[in-house]
Amino acid sequence: MGAVAVIAAIGLAIFLLRPAAPKETVIVVPSPDGHTGTVVVQRGETRQVLDQPYATSRSGDDKVEQLSAAEVDEAFGPTLRALPAPPASFTLYFITGTDELTAESKAELQNVLAALKERPLPDVQVIGHTDTVGELLANDRLSAQRAETVKGFLVQIGIPAERITTAGRGEREPLIRTPDEVDEPRNRRVEISVR
């Protein structure tokens, strides 16, 4: 009887003196567009699916809880504010057979500038495309030229050239599928990705 009590006491002491397991919290939050994704938390044999706004899984708790937006900001404010700006994409269109932007796309260039200004050190990918009018290889060249023209605008406004990559995909990746030799304005484009 006494021995059992001693063993129990030793067991309790070991239990109390063990290094505390880390406390872990996982929270799914809605995106700026209001959509909430899903995270599956596997902790040993326990599996929790978080798919509601602010659904929260904690170590040592089998129930999924719901935190308030204020509690989340309290715990994660500095971390959330360190998230990089989400990548932004733009499409500029060209006058047929040329590397000259349409009037609308010259205006759209202002939005590209705004996205660039938001970022301390942006990196930019510029990919040029053509419609199917003309020879395949000529279109490869024209698409590369369109990308270079846009790169030229960006360098002019002060983006370092080494932060910009360009590529030309010719008529190989049309936005709108067409037969050969079709004048399709939506395919005469440059796609710009700003990160």
Partner: protein, 142 residues
Amino acid sequence: MRWTIAAVLLGVSTWATASDVGEIKVAKGAAYLERGEARLPVKVGMPVQQSDKVVTGADGTVGITFADNSLLSVGPDSVLAIDRYVFDSTTYAGQFDSTLSKGTLAVISGKLVKQSPDAMRVHTPSAIMGVRGTEFLVKVER
């Protein structure tokens, strides 16, 4: 042939070499990257590689954009290891594993997860998170 390879690499990203998988976009306070034996103080524009460890001090925060447009940020007093990062910019296939051993982490998933829902996993001392999309937060208190 060599030029073809160089051209392909240049076409994929502005980042300096093929081993660069992301770039530091936000850096505040005390924070560094552990790369092998080296401790590199973080600054905006610095490339991030597979096997790097992000370590922040009491006032440090770091934000990283990865090749697939995954966004990660690490809060103060944190340690995050980039265990594995593979991304094919043509097929969007790959795998992204990271481990938060202490501190806080915010994640917005990118093209990897959009392409294949199990491509991104975050590990903590007691759990594995499988990411099926978008934005979530992790905290490990010791």
